[in-house]
C-alpha cells in the first residue's frame, strides 16, 4: 500500500487469545508432573493440546469465537473435566480487572515456556517448546502484549469486559461481576433480545443455504482457474470440504446486518467481534474461493457478500476480499459487479498480495504483477461468452508477461488462450495473436485457427514442462487429448517432401495424452506446500466436535478410542483437491472419447467412475456432465421411462447450477421422445427452447447451436417438410465447416442422406451417405459409421429389389458394431431393414426361412415398444402381419395387425393420451 505503511506486528492480542493463553497454562503448567493436575490420563491431556492447536489453526470463520462458543467447545472435548475447565477459565478471566493484572498475567505466561538453551530436559516434565506451534503462539501473544501501548491495554481490558459480559449474560449461574460504569446496561440486554430474534431469522436463512448446498455439488469453468488462484496465494493448497459452513455462520450474518442496516444499534462492534489471525483469515478466504469455484451458482450470493462486506469493514486493507467478491459475482452472472471487483482487487493488490505477510516496504517499489490481472480479466470475458474481448485481453497478457518475464503467468495465459480457441469457434485469428507466439507466422505462413491452436498447445505444454508446473502439464495433456480427439493431424507446412500420412485421427495419441495427464497424481507433491493442510485439518477437527458420535466416545476415558474417532472423522485426504479434479476430468474426457469412438459401454464405465470416485471433489458442472452422460446412456439403451426417472434425481441434485447441462439434457430427451411418439408440436416447442439457450454471440456455445439446428432439421424431417429440413441441414453443414466441427459434419451429412431417403430421392441421398461414411472413417466414429452404413443400405434397398443383396451385405457388415454398441433404435432399425431386404429379395421364400425374417422383426418390435417409437413399431408389426399372412398363421397375423393398428392410432391421436411429461417444459 502506497499511502500509509502498516505496523509490523500483524498479530493483535484479543480476549479470545487471552482465553487460549489461560488454557495453555492449564495444559502446560510449570510443574514437573507428566500428567498435570486436572487431567486423569495422557489421552485427556493430549486432547486439550490438540484442541488448542486446532483453535490456533482453524480457518473456518473470520471471527474468533465468543466465550460462550469456546465454553461449549470445551464441553465437547473436556468430558468430565469441562466444568473444571470452564470454571477455571471464567474465574481467571474475571480476575483480570486492571491493567496491572494483565501485565502480571502475561509475565506469568512467559514462565510456562521452556527455555531454548536449557539442555537438560527431565523425562516426565511438560514443557512447551518455544518453537512448537503452541509455543510460537504463546510467544506471539506475549510479544504482542509487550508491544501494546497503554491505550491498547485499556482497550484490551474493555474488550475483556465485554467478552465476559456477553457470555455471562447468557449463562445465569455466573453472576456478572464487573459490570462497570455502564448506565446503558439495560439497553444492552434489550438489544440482545432483538438480536436473538434476528438470529432466529438468519438461522433459517442459513438452513436454507445449507440445504441448497447439499442439493448440489459441482466446478470451475475450466481446469486451471483454481491454479491461477493458487499462483496468487503462493501455492497454498487448502482442501475444501463442501459443507464448510460452520454452525455459527448465522450469527455472523446477523451481526453484520446489525452493523449496517441499522448501523450501530449493536453494542460496540469493535468490542464484540475480533478478526482471527491474518493466517487464518487467508485460509478461510482461500477455502471459500475454492468452494465458490466448485459450486458455482449454487453458492448463496447475498450471504457470502454480507460476510465479505463485513470483513472489508474490519480489515479494509485485506484486498483479497475484492477477489472473493469478484468470484462470487462471476458465478452469479453479475457482469458489472464482477468487472468492478476484479479491477478493484488488482488496483489495490497489484497482483502481489501474498499469503501471510507482504513486507511493507516492498509494496511501494516493486512494479506489481498486473499481467495476472489481464489473465483473470481474459478468463472473465471468456466465462461470460465474449471470446473477442477475451482474446484481446489475453494477448495483452502475453505481451506484458513477456515484458515482465513472468514465465509462469505466460504459461497459464497460453493455456487459457488454447482453451479459448478450442472452446469457441473463431474463424480467423490473423492479427489477433502476436507474431511472437508462433514461429510460423514470423516466416510469413498463415496458419488456420486449428493449426495455430495445435502449435499453441504444443508450446504451452513445453513451457509448463520446463517450468515444472505439474498441474498445468496435466491439464495441457488433457487439452491435447481433446484436440487429438477431433482433429486429423496434417503436416503444418504445405511444402517440402510430404511424408505419407493417413488422414485419420489417432486414438492412440488420445490415450497417450490421457495417460500422461493422469500421472499427475504421483507427481503433484513436489508442488504443494505443506503449510495449509494443517489449517484445513484443524478446521475439520473442530467441526467434528459438533458431531454427536464424537462426544459420546470421547467422554470415555479410554485413550485409544478417542484417537480412532479422531482419525476416522477428520482424516484429510492427502491429495489436494485441484489434483483430484484434474485426474477426475481425465475420466470425463475418456468418457467423451469413447462416446465419439462409439463404445457406449466404455463411455458409461468412465462416466460411472467419475460420478462415484470424484463427485466429492468435482465441481458441480463436471459432476452434472457425468450424470448427463449416464442418463443419455440409459435413454438410448433402456428407454425413456428409466431415463426420466434418473433425470428427476439429477435435477434435484443439481437444482441451482446455472447454465445447466441438466436442462439441456431434459430438452434433448423430451425432443427425442416427442419425435418418436410423433408429437411434432411438442418437438417443435422443445426445439425452440433449445435454440434460446445459446448465446447470440457468433462462435460461442457452438455445441448448443449445432444441437439446436440438428434437432430442428430432424423435426422438419419428421413433419415431412423435406426442403425446409434440407435447407436447415445445409446451413448447419456450412456453419460446421466454417468452425471446423468435423464430427458434427459427419452427423449432418448423414441427416441429409436421411432426408433424401425419406423424400424418395435415394439417388441424391447416396453421395451424402458415402461422404458421411468417409468422414466417419477418418475420425474413427465407429458407431456413426455403422449407422451411416445402415442408411446406405436403406438407400440401396429403396433403389429396387435388385439391390437387396448389396444392402444385406452392407447390413451384415455393420451388424457387429450395431449389436455390440448400438442403442435400441439403431438395433431395431437394422433388424427391420434386414427383414425388408430378405422380403424384397425375389429369391427369398418366406415359408422356408420364416425365422430369418420373424426373429429380427419380433426383436425390433419389442425394442421399439420400449422406446414408444410408434412409426417404426407400426412398420415392424405391418411386416410381421404380412409374413404371418404368408405363412398362414392367422391368429398371429391378427395379433400383429392389432398391434399395428394400435401404434398407428397412437401416432395419429397423440393428443388424447395423457402425457405426464408434457408438463415438464
Amino acid at each position: 500500500m502506497a499511502g500509509v505503511l502498516k505496523p509490523p506486528g500483524a498479530f493483535a492480542v484479543t480476549p479470545h487469545k487471552v482465553s487460549v493463553c489461560i488454557l495453555l497454562q492449564i495444559y502446560a503448567p510449570a510443574a514437573h508432573i507428566s500428567v498435570p493436575f486436572p487431567f486423569s490420563s495422557v489421552a485427556q491431556h493430549n486432547r486439550l493440546g490438540l484442541f488448542l492447536l486446532a483453535l490456533t489453526k482453524a480457518c473456518d470463520d473470520i471471527f474468533e469465537p465468543k466465550l460462550e462458543e469456546l465454553i461449549s467447545q470445551l464441553r465437547e472435548i473436556g468430558g468430565l473435566l469441562h466444568h473444571w475447565l470452564t470454571d477455571h477459565l471464567t474465574n481467571k478471566l474475571s480476575t483480570l480487572s486492571s491493567p496491572d493484572d494483565l501485565f502480571n498475567f502475561f509475565s506469568d505466561m512467559r514462565g510456562i515456556l521452556g527455555g531454548t538453551d536449557s539442555g537438560v530436559v527431565e523425562d516426565d516434565q511438560v514443557i512447551l517448546d518455544p518453537s512448537s506451534n503452541l509455543g510460537m503462539f504463546l510467544r506471539r501473544c506475549v510479544l504482542a502484549f509487550n508491544l501494546l501501548s497503554f491505550e491498547g491495554v485499556c482497550h484490551l481490558l474493555t474488550n475483556l469486559g465485554i467478552y465476559c459480559k456477553e457470555a455471562l449474560s447468557n449463562c445465569p449461574p455466573y453472576e456478572a461481576q464487573h459490570l462497570d460504569d455502564s448506565s446503558n446496561d439495560l439497553e444492552v440486554l434489550s438489544q440482545y433480545e432483538n438480536m436473538d430474534l434476528e438470529n432466529f431469522v438468519f438461522e433459517k436463512v442459513t438452513e436454507e443455504i445449507e440445504a441448497r448446498e447439499r442439493a448440489s455439488k459441482r466446478v470451475p469453468f475450466h481446469l486451471h482457474v483454481p491454479k491461477a488462484l493458487c499462483g496468487l496465494v503462493e501455492d497454498i493448497e487448502v482442501l475444501v470440504d463442501p459443507k464448510s459452513k460452520h454452525g455459527d455462520k448465522g450469527r455472523e450474518v446477523c451481526q453484520y446486518t446489525h452493523s449496517t442496516s441499522d448501523a450501530l444499534r449493536d453494542i460496540d462492534p469493535n468490542g464484540g467481534m475480533f478478526l482471527r489471525t491474518n493466517w487464518q483469515i487467508q485460509g478461510f478466504l482461500h477455502e471459500q474461493a475454492n468452494a465458490i469455484e466448485r459450486h458455482g451458482g449454487s453458492y448463496s450470493f447475498n450471504a457470502f457478500e454480507l460476510i465479505m462486506k463485513q470483513l472489508q469493514k474490519y480489515a479494509p486493507e485485506l484486498h483479497r476480499v475484492h477477489y472473493l467478491r469478484y468470484l462470487n459475482s462471476l458465478y452469479h452472472d453479475d457482469y458489472f459487479a464482477a468487472l468492478e471487483n476484479l479491477h478493484c482487487y488488482f488496483d489495490y493488490s497489484a497482483g502481489i498480495e501474498g499469503f501471510d505477510y507482504v513486507p511493507p516496504s516492498s509494496g511501494c517499489n516493486s512494479l506489481g504483477r498486473y499481467e495476472i490481472a489481464l489473465l483473470c480479466l481474459g478468463m472473465m470475458h471468456f466465462h461470460y461468452g465474449y471470446p473477442k474481448q477475451a482474446l484481446e485481453v489475453l494477448t495483452e497478457a502475453v505481451h506484458v508477461s513477456q515484458q515482465q518475464s513472468n514465465d509462469t503467468c505466460l504459461a497459464y495465459t497460453l493455456a487459457a488462450i488454447c482453451n479459448l480457441l478450442s472452446e469457441t469457434g473463431i474463424s480467423s485469428t490473423t492479427g489477433i495473436l502476436g507474431s511472437s507466439l508462433s514461429p510460423f507466422t514470423s516466416i510469413g505462413i498463415s496458419l488456420s485457427v486449428q493449426q495455430q491452436l495445435f502449435v499453441l498447445l504444443r508450446g504451452s505444454l513445453k513451457r509448463a514442462e520446463n517450468l515444472k508446473l505439474k498441474r498445468l502439464v496435466a491439464s495441457s495433456h488433457l487439452a491435447m487429448a481433446r484436440f487429438d480427439l477431433t482433429h486429423v493431424q496434417r503436416p503444418l507446412l504445405s511444402f517440402g517432401p510430404k511424408a505419407s500420412m493417413k488422414l485419420r485421427t489417432s486414438p492412440i495419441n488420445v490415450c497417450k495424452e490421457l495417460r500422461l495427464s493422469s500421472q499427475l497424481i504421483s507427481e503433484f507433491c513436489t508442488e504443494t506446500s505443506a503449510m495449509t493442510n494443517e489449517g484445513d485439518f484443524s478446521t475439520a477437527w473442530l467441526k467434528n466436535l459438533h458431531k454427536p458420535m464424537g462426544s459420546q466416545v470421547l467422554s470415555e476415558e479410554s485413550g485409544s478410542g478417542s484417537f480412532n474417532v479422531f482419525q476416522c472423522c477428520a482424516q484429510p485426504s492427502s491429495i489436494p483437491g485441484s489434483v483430484l479434479q484434474l485426474v477426475g476430468s481425465s475420466y470425463l474426457v475418456r468418457a467423451t472419447a469413447w462416446e465419439i469412438y462409439g463404445s457406449s459401454s466404455l463411455a458409461k464405465t468412465n462416466a460411472l467412475v467419475y460420478a462415484t470416485c470424484f463427485s466429492d471433489v468435482s465441481s458441480t458442472s463436471d459432476a452434472a456432465l457425468a450424470y448427463v452422460k449416464l442418463i443419455q446412456h440409459l435413454a438410448v439403451f433402456k428407454g425413456y421411462k428409466e431415463a426420466f426417472a434418473a433425470l428427476k434425481i439429477a435435477e434435484e441434485k443439481f437444482l441451482t447450477v446455472s447454465k445447466s447441462r441438466i436442462l439441456l439434457l431434459k430438452l434433448q430427451l423430451l425432443h427425442e421422445r416427442a419425435l418418436h411418439r410423433g408429437h411434432l408440436k411438442l418437438a417443435q416447442q422443445v426445439c425452440d427452447e433449445l435454440g434460446v439457450l445459446a448465446s447470440s454471440v457468433t462462435g460461442v456455445d457452438m455445441e448448443l447451436k449445432t444441437e439446436a439446428s440438428l434437432r430442428r432439421a430432424r423435426t422438419l424431417l419428421a413433419a415431412n417438410q423435406f426442403s425446409e429440413a434440407a435447407a436447415v441441414s445445409h446451413s448447419l453443414f456450412c456453419m460446421c465447416y466454417k468452425f471446423n466441427l468435423q464430427v458434427e459434419n459427419a452427423t449432418t451429412l448423414l441427416l441429409l442422406a436421411e432426408i433424401h431417403k425419406k423424400s424418395g430421392n435415394a439417388v441424391l441421398g447416396l453421395p451424402y451417405a458415402l461422404a458421411s461414411l468417409s468422414f466417419c472413417q477418418s475420425f474413427n466414429l465407429d458407431l456413426l459409421k455403422a449407422s451411416a452404413t445402415l442408411t446406405l443400405a436403406e438407400l440401396w434397398l429403396s433403389l429396387g429389389s435388385s439391390h437387396a443383396k448389396r444392402a444385406l451385405a452392407l447390413i451384415h457388415g455393420a451388424f457387429p458394431m450395431i449389436l455390440g454398441h448400438g442403442g435400441l433404435e439403431l438395433r431395431a432399425r437394422a433388424h427391420i431393414v434386414e427383414a425388408k431386404c430378405y422380403l424384397s429379395d425375389p429369391n427369398f421364400s418366406v415359408s422356408e426361412n420364416s425365422d430369418v425374417v420373424l426373429d429380427p422383426l419380433t426383436q425390433a418390435s419389442d425394442e421399439l415398444q420400449v422406446l414408444e417409437y410408434h412409426e417404426l413399431a407400426a412398420e415392424a408389426f405391418y411386416l410381421m402381419a404380412i409374413v404371418f399372412d404368408k405363412l398362414g398363421r392367422l391368429d398371429d397375423r391378427e395379433e400383429a395387425a392389432a398391434s399395428f393398428k394400435r401404434h398407428i392410432l397412437a401416432l395419429e391421436n397423440f393428443q388424447d393420451e395423457e402425457d405426464p411429461l408434457v408438463n415438464m417444459l
Binding site: 500500500m1 502506497a2 499511502g3 500509509v4 502498516k6 505496523p7 506486528g9 500483524a10 498479530f11 493483535a12 501501548s149 491505550e151 491498547g152 482497550h155 446503558n184 439497553e187 449496517t260 442496516s261 441499522d262 448501523a263 450501530l264 444499534r265 460496540d268 462492534p269 469493535n270 478478526l275 491474518n278 483469515i281 469493514k313 474490519y314 480489515a315 479494509p316 486493507e317 485485506l318 468487472l339 479491477h343 478493484c344 488496483d347 489495490y348 497489484a350 509494496g363 511501494c364 517499489n365 516493486s366 512494479l367 506489481g368 498486473y370 490481472a373 489481464l374 480479466l377 484481446e392 485481453v393 494477448t395 495483452e396 505481451h399 506484458v400 515484458q403 492479427g431
Partner: protein
Amino acid sequence: MSSKETCRNELRTAIRQLSDRCLYAASKWAAEQLVGIEQDPAKFTPANTRFQRGSSSIRRRFHTHESTLTPASGVLHVSTPVMEEDEIVDGDIYLLAKTYFDCREYRRAAHVLQDQIGKKSVFLRCYALYLAGEKRKEEEMIELEGPLGKSDAVNHELIPLERELSTLRKNGTIDPFGLYLYGLVLKEKGGESLARTVLVESVNNYPWNWNAWSELQSLCTSIDILNSLNLNNHWMKDFFLASVYQELRMQNEALVKYENLLSNFSFSNYIQAQIAKAKYSLREFEQVESIFEELLRNDPYRVEDMDMYSNVLYAKECFSALSYLAHRVFMTDKYRPESCCIIGNYYSLKGQHEKSVVYFRRALKLNKNYLSAWTLMGHEFVEMKNTAAAIDAYRHAVDINPCDYRAWYGLGQAYEMMGMPFYALHYFRKSVFLQPNDSRLWIAMAQCYETEQLRMLEEAIKCYKGAANCNDREAIAMHQLAKLHCELGRLEEAAFYYKKDLERMETEEREGPNMVEALLFLATYYRRQKRFEDAEVYCTRLLDYTGPEKETAKNLLRGMRIAQTSSPSLDFEHFTP
C-alpha cells in the same frame, strides 16, 4: 427575492442564535454572508465597507449577462418568522455549560446540563455529547489500527442520542436545531432517507443553519433525490441548490444560481469562491485566477479553497505565485490539509516529486478522505514512474468518490504506461462517462485504441469524433481523425478533416508540421481528383515552407502544369510523395 434589509436582519438574529448554541461553523458562514450584503454607502463609514472593496470589481468584470439574472418572478419566497427564544435569558447553568463547551470540555458541558429541560439546553447537551463521541472516535481510530488496516471506529454516543432525539421528535418537543442534530446522527448511522426527511424539517423551520443545509446537500446524491425534497422557498434555498448543482457536476446551473445570489450578496467571499470552483471545473483558469487574487486581497489569511487556486497556478506554471501562496498558507496554518496540498503542488511544479509526495502524505494523514490529495499523489507517482503506487493512490480516490473522473483517467494512464492499453480502456471509459465534455479524456481513450497492440482504428475514430465535438483545445482530434481516415483509405473523409483542421489552424494562427502535412495531403488529394486549381492553391501555400515538402510541392506544380498543357491523360502517380 427578499430585500437586502430583511436578509440582513434575519442573518443578524441567526448569528446570535447559532453562536449561542455553539454551532460555530454555521454562524461563521452566516456572518460572512451578512457582510457580503451590499451596504448603503451613504449610511456607513468606510471602515464598515472595508471588506467589500475588492469583490465588487470582480463582479463588474465578470458580470456579463446581467439581463438573465433577474430572479424569476412568481416564485413566492416564504418568509420564515425569526424563531422566538424559549429562554429569553440564559440560565446560569447554561452559561457555565457554554463556557465548558467553548473550552472543548464536551462531557463536562453535557454533564452540567443533565437535568435541564429547556430546548436549548437539551440541544446543547446532545450536541456536546455528539462532539465528545466524535473526539473519542478520532482517538480510537488511531488506537485501534489493526494488522489489516484501520477498522471503523464508531461514535459511541450515536445510539443513545438517536433514541433520545427520536423520542423528542415523536413528542413534538424538538426544535429545528435538535432536528439538525437528529439528522446528523441518522446520517452517520446510515439511515439516509429518514435523515433527509428530518433535515428538510429542520431547514424548513429554521433556514439559516448552513450546517443543516450542507448535511442535506451531502445526502443529495442524484438529481432525482433533490427533486423529491419538499423545501420551502427561502433565499437560503438558493445557496443550497447552487451547492447541490455543483456537487452533481451541473456547473452551469450552479453558476446561474450564484450569479443570481450575487445581486443581494454582492460582496460575499463565499459566493466568489464557489463561482471560482465552478469555473475551475469548466477549465476557465484565467477567471478563476483573478477571482482568487481578489479574494486573497480581501481576506489574506484564507486557507479554504486555496488548494484549488494552487491547482490553477500549477496549470499555468506560475512558479513564483505558487511559492508565494505556499509560503502564505504555511505561515497561516501549516497543519491544514489544504496547506500541505499547496506545498505539494509547488514541489511538483519544481519537479521534486519525492518531496511533493511527502506533503501529500501529510495532507492525507490530516484527512484521509481528502480526495484531491489522493489524486494529486497519484499524479506524482506517475511522474516518478512508480505505477503500482500511483494505481493504489488513484484507487483510493475513486473509492472515496466514484465520480472523480481525474482519478479514473489517472488509473487508465498508469495502465497504459505499463503497456496494458486494453485494460486501461476500462478506466478511460469510466472517466469519459463521468465527464463527456472533456476532450482530453476522449483523446486518451482514442490513443489507447490506436496503440500498436490494439489497432482498433474504428473505435479510435469514434473517440476522436467525441473529442472533436467538445471543443478540443489542443486540436489533436481533427488532425488524428484526418490521419486515421487517410490510413484506412477513406480519402474523402480525410480531406474533409484536413480541411477543417487547416481552417482551425488558420483562425488560431498556428503553424507547424501539422499545417504542412495538411497542405501536402490536400494538394495531392485534389490533384488526384483532377481539381488542379484547388491543388495549386495548396501547393503554392506549401512553397512558403522549407524542407522536403517544398520540393514535393514544386514537383507537383510542375507536373500539373505539364498535364494541363500536354495530354491530360498522362498519369503522374509517380510524382506523389
